[in-house]
Amino acid sequence: MRVTMKKINYITLIIFIIWNTSSAVAQSDMIGYGLNKTLPQANNLNPAMLPDYKFSLGLPGLSGFHINTGQNFTNLELLTSVDENGNINTGDIFNKMRRNNRVTSNNTINLFHLGIRGLTSYTAFSVNTKTFARVSLPKELFAFALYGNASDQLDNGLLDLSRGSVKTMAYTEIGISHGREILAGKMTAGIRLKYIIGHAYGDMNSIDASLKTYGNDDFRGDSIEMNVNQFDIRTAGVAGGLINESDDIRGSALSNGGFGLDLGATYEFSKKIRFFASLNDLGFINWNEQHTNRQTIPSFQFNFSGADVVELINGEDLSVLNEFDSVVSDLEIDTTLNESFSTSLTAKLYAGASYQLSRRQTASAILYSEFYRGALIPAFTAMYNFQGGTFFNFAFSATMMNGRVNNFGTGITLNLIPFQVVLATNDLLSIVNPMKGRAVDFRFGINHTFGNVNKGKSRAKKNSKNTIDTIDLGID
């Protein structure tokens, strides 16, 4: 079989989507928030969070990654359970599925991080590459595969295949942030400006389709009717370049610019109570018109009640598949090239308060919301944090979504002079109980951190009593 360049491009695109696809819960980074005092990358969550280190450096390959990938409709326990015949219990797997089944992946690779802590401020420069993919699959699609179109399990023979969608994106953000104390130290405010280079984009907006098989209790299969409403498939960047069979792949990966903005603030209400909030990823990517492709698949209806005998005698091949293939082949797909478009980043809101339980222990409550396709996906997290100076920081969280606590997270930073190792997960349940886990969330990294501002302040404070105004910048 000859594989054409076009096929290779489509296969590459599919691999791109699948690679980025593998939690359907809102992709918050609560543990990062909890470790904000010692984790330099937590500044990415709220530019007003000032880490305790005086200087931090993250290098490519070391500064780490954060993988969050998962789905919302099954787990290993379901997939491995068997019935009395030793068969995988496909019925149980299907019954536990949701009406809309999502597979989501958020991955961040921290390529570079440089942070400098002033006495009352923190300035950082960071480069992060991020990928995002989300595939939504209606439950009825699995019903079709599992039960077929003639099953009495279907409601009146109808398979509602709407609400299917795909979105995937890859980009690199180059950001510079600055946060500082204001109001005599009672409040911090921060801002991060990000220049964004879009690498690849693909989306297929919600597909509204249905398949109905007519019949009755005795026989189901008299005729088939399929309705598909118009939908678009958009690609840009490398994905668009591959579909357009462009030779300029490098250009397609690097010629898409955009801007982003993170805003944050903290307010020390009292010595023990502190409020904080951040609004992240306000921004857009403008995809270069030279590497865009939009295909508009028109609405169509397919009805099949059988082949015509006369046409069969005349040698026509009129099976249902051939007829459907013929209808699809005859669709006038409208392809638009060289049309620039913008996509917004997925904005996230963190807001919460912390209570200082003791010198080393803090309890926090954080509200997280994500704006996705006009919908607000909220989550509420309670957090415990134990911080042993800059040497050890531990956080544990419990997250509530949809009215119930369904997730736990934990993370530590450990300073092994001169490196700081960070291990964290926002989905502890999946780690400690992999049989019921629905996601993999894991952060690992090694940072170079120097100095402890608290130590300096402490010493400065101590010294102030002795009228000595110096700050120790030595390695902690």
Binding site: L79, N89, D222, G306
Partner: protein, 528 residues
Amino acid sequence: MKKIIHKPYLLFGILISIFIGGCYSELSNLELGKLQWSPELGVPLIDSEFTLTEILEANSSDIEVSPDPESDVLVIRISDDSLFSQYATDYFALSDQTLNVPPIILTQEEINEFNANGQVTISREAMIDYPNQGDLDRIIIDQGTVQTQVTENFPANVNLTLQMEDPNNTPILNYNNFFNYDGFNPISTDQSTDQFNGLEFTFNADPVLRQVLAIFDITLEKVNGQNLIFGANSIDLNIGVEDLEFEALYGDLSSQDISTEENTIQTDAFSQSEILSELDYYFENPQFRLNFTNSMGIPIRFDVNNFTTYKDGTASNEPINSSIELAAATVGSTTTSGNNFDNIFKSIINNVPDSVSLQVDGLIDPDNTPNNFVTKDSYFQAGYEVNLPLEFSLGGFEINETVSLDGIDPQELQYALFKFTSENSLPIDIDFKADLLTQDSTVVMNLFDGKFLAGGTEEAPEAISDLIRLEDDPETSNNELDDLVNVKRVGIRATISTTNNGSEVVSITSGASVKFNLAVQAKYNVNF
């Protein structure tokens, strides 16, 4: 102090590791079960409404079907315009001819000039009659060849040029040769072959119109001072025309016998084939007509002698002995004539022949009429037309066929349910039987045995609806579907008859149709 702080951290880390390690221990024994599920698919296969006209026309491009304008009964028309055809060139031809060209002898004055000057140039013209073959009035020769032979015996060098043309100044010959005298042997010969086209001669008018004009130009040169003697030397020409093809012949053309081979009439539609058993049919009003066409300017009489029918290897003659006269055509037109032989054809066709042939003789110009013409494109031909009004009875029409069916995996099939419905306003019954067979034709399972279509009328169509279920019989200990693994073929028998098992004549009208639906619902296992 740090050691004191670090110790609980270390213990905490170890405990966490043990805890998580314990969680993952169950993954080491993780086993996936067998992945199997059983979808049910329902697929419509056929949904059709068709008339007999549509089915017949889809089966054969040679068959025309149209309703009779008065009765609305469908009529099948099978025709062949050229059962046989022959051209005038098969019967008439022009023979080779020799032109009577006189020898060329020099006059005394010409000899004197030669002897005195050593050279003389002579110009001559001659009118030569073209022979009238068969006392025709006019001939137009499309093409031919002219053979020229020249012999001269002048003791001199001779340069001969000869041009010939017909009465319309169309050139026949343009000849030139130089005869060199060597001083010893004065006799020289030469010959040539040339092509000509488009000559015309008229024999019943001005004589000039049937003559060829010959123009000679001759130059003689003295050799070795040798003089000529009057009457001693000449140039002799022998000119003939051959391989003649006529464009047209006018006049009293001779009578010609026509004898044709036996001509087989296409009766495939009624003959037996391997998949058909004995047919038993009766057509109420079949019609057979022979049509003749003549474009020659000469009358023709055809003698239709007999039909010969062949059945089971035995031939039998059905005499007809009928004559059909065709008048002479005028230039550029045709005459036609024909006759119906319906009764004899009804007898023949209802005897279900394997094939039918027709023997026809004829005579061109049977009354020897005087003024005829033919052209090279003139022809006559015979064709036939069979009209079969569908007023008929049909019984015993069985189609037996087997279809290969390798590759059934019955183990994965839980059941298959076929649903068919029909509504028939044709007066035709179709019984259908389908058996699943092993390689040696042992019946494994009967798929269907019953009426597929029941004869009805346009006013009262007959409907059938049935479900065929292919599944394991729960009453038996065996799984009947397991036997399907041995199925290699499907044996099909379709029995078609008009209503009442073909015992009465029915009429099929144009609006009679069949509605037919077939769909399948099946449940099967998918394994990975």
